[in-house]
Subunit: 418 residues, 2 copies
């Protein structure tokens, strides 16, 4: 590959050429130290990545995925220009190149083993991310503390509106009826559980192994006076017991791990049997691909985003019918834009609380996620399913798109068997 | 198992017991010749199956799937009472029993091999079903000759309305824009191709290997004056050439065969690339299961209904994103009820055209399909997908549920990348 504006030293030239070979001819400028930088010939760059020294550049060539994350978090790499746009073009370029490094598969497997989501492993993995402190998440999440993809009925909706719309969207898909029982696996700070109990008149049992989140959720349920209708249980989804009408899990499948899908399926069948229905909301992929090693190392240990076909391993053994799959990937990009915007506005505070390394690592995680959802490297699936004996579900999906939001005006169910 | 009303001969008693062991304790009465019949103890029967002789009963015990189909078509078995309801309870009972006969797997593999959907095999398979004569299908299909699952916006819609609504539903999901090009694989009698061209202003190239259907479609396109905008090509989907904005296939995947999904994926990518979008509408399953051997032997040679995960084999190799999956299984049950009703009203005519055997075999196929969709042994999936470079799709699915049906009033596209 020809690189314009040749660098001063032939080692640097060689390394930059190798870097572009690894990531493909991305429209970016690569600058070393205080230099002008290099751009693939004939390409107009969208941003400049400034690499502090030759050592950092060499690490980037050796392993762009880990190398970039580590160096960015440590301040040895800076991006001048639109950070998200920069990540987007690099993701697209890497996606077209598809030349995985020989050792990335080995390292990935080794990480899988180290971070396996056993009962004990999950506790450690979840603790590392979700127990960072509620005060931190309060800085940049919405009022209800919903840390999953929102649903924007129109692109002008606020984050607050979109998170409530998402909860309604889920409840309507599940066709919750007053008096029914719902089990939630992985309930975060409890917003959905409380929303279901308050606005749909159901009884909820919600599970989570994050101490901080459960602590917050329980206090909040008491505050708003619904602790008699929502029970927050600090336990693993594998220990869910009892019988319920519906199962819901929003943003937990990513932490279950492919090798444990069968266990999750067993839990679902144990709780809702053949007559219930359920919804899985999760980050997915177009095909099997490991989660970024840097993200697993620094942000989400043990995480995996399944292809849609892989997610079916939860449902197939129990003869569950998939009724509806919706891809909300652009909604997640928009949700993350809101989060990143709020995060940037309090980045000094974050740095003061957790240090500069943390603040930069989290910026990269949020911005990288926006880029991943925009470019389609990540998807967001909502999968609605029902058991073989579940004979009542709506005739069409039109009821999801009426204006009625209250319990009273929800549509009558249509009997499937006439 | 205890059987009430003991039969006259101990061989018959033994055979009936074996039959109920094979199919489970279904709520049916089994009568031999002119006898009263036997019912599983404590169960109230929904219908009576009258088996002419001991030989037929023995064949039923040996292989209920093939045995029932063959004997019913030959008139050696009759069902007194609601035929569909009878099939439903038997399907449910067999589904709960899950005791496949040892040789059914072997026979199934052998049938797969015999009926493999190679270029030549497909020609033979499709010819056997779809070239039975257009006059036959005209007897019981809707005016537009649509031989796939309809979409009933309300359960009171007529079949005619529901088939048009289905075509609009597909066109809206694909967000067809005037002037765009669409390729259709497996176009039946051409109704959808002509609908797209007439009402959505697109140019269509439609493929089919059924001589009779292509003949009908071409004549019809000339009659309604749109032969300049719809081209009907008598060829296999594997020979599709050219570049298109959208790919659509309604009711063909069932005839492709699991071992050829990769080929279909290649064809799709060759025609719409990374920037197009497409829709696959097909009969599916909750998990991997071969199509009924009797149906493959007598009605649909080479047919296979995939699990959703299996259908992903078409899309995954090319990084296509699944945007939307809708399960319309109850709509197919309703569609088939309309077809069976019309079929029954002209059953004498059918018998006069093709004989009693044919008329009974087709009644069993239609009634059995209703039962299969009602009980969830079969599903109907519409899968909407888009390429990695397709940046334009609607923000939500609300546009599918507005009243606007015309080209002019269709919603504006929202740019995904803001």
């Amino acid at each position: 590959m020809r690189i314009n504006q040749a660098p001063s030293h032939r080692w640097d030239r060689w390394l930059v050429r190798r870097l572009f070979q690894a990531i493909g001819p991305a429209p970016i400028r690569v600058a070393l130290g205080g230099g002008d930088g290099f751009v693939p010939a004939g390409i107009s760059p969208v941003a400049t990545v400034r690499i502090r020294d030759r050592r950092t550049l060499a690490q980037l060539v050796l392993d762009p995925e880990i190398g970039f994350g580590e160096a960015y978090a440590e301040g040895r790499i800076q991006v001048e220009g639109d950070f998200v746009r920069f990540l987007e073009v690099v993701y697209t370029s890497i996606g077209n190149t598809r030349r995985p490094f020989w050792y990335s598969g080995v390292v990935s497997k080794w990480m899988d083993w180290l971070q396996n989501n056993t009962l004990r492993g999950s506790l450690a993995n979840i603790h590392r991310h979700y127990d960072l402190g509620n005060d931190f998440y309060k800085l940049w999440l919405d009022h209800e503390m919903v840390y999953t993809c929102a649903y924007f009925p129109s692109s002008s909706a606020t984050l607050e509106e979109a998170q409530i719309a998402k909860m309604d969207h889920v409840c309507r898909k599940l066709q919750l009826q007053p008096g029914e029982t719902v089990v939630e696996a992985g309930c975060g700070w409890g917003a959905l559980a409380m929303h279901m109990a308050r606005h749909y008149g159901v009884l909820v049992k919600a599970f989570n192994i994050s101490k901080e989140q459960i602590f917050y959720a329980r206090r909040r349920a008491v505050e708003i006076g619904i602790s008699d209708r929502v029970e927050f249980i600090e336990d693993d989804y594998r220990n869910v017991s009892g019988k319920f009408d519906a199962f819901v899990s929003v943003g937990m499948l990513e932490h279950v791990g492919l090798s444990h899908y069968r266990e999750l399926g067993n839990v679902i069948h144990r709780t809702i049997g053949d007559s219930g229905r359920g919804l899985l909301h999760f980050i997915g992929r177009n095909y099997h691909e490991e989660f970024s090693r840097w993200i697993r190392k620094r942000i989400f240990p043990g995480a995996y985003a399944p292809a849609l076909a892989e997610a079916m391993r939860v449902l197939e053994p129990w003869d569950y019918s998939v009724l509806d799959v919706e891809n909300l990937r652009l909604h997640y990009a928009k949700t993350l834009e809101h989060w990143l915007d709020r995060f940037e506005r309090c980045s000094h505070q974050v740095a003061a609380m957790y240090g500069d390394w943390f603040q930069r690592a989290w910026r990269l995680y949020l911005a990288g996620s926006i880029a991943a959802f925009r470019t389609g490297r990540l998807q967001l699936f909502q999968v609605l399913f029902a058991g073989s004996q579940c004979r009542e579900f709506p005739w069409t999906r039109a009821h999801l798109y009426t204006d009625a939001q209250s319990v009273e005006s929800r549509p009558r169910w249509t009997h499937a068997m006439s």
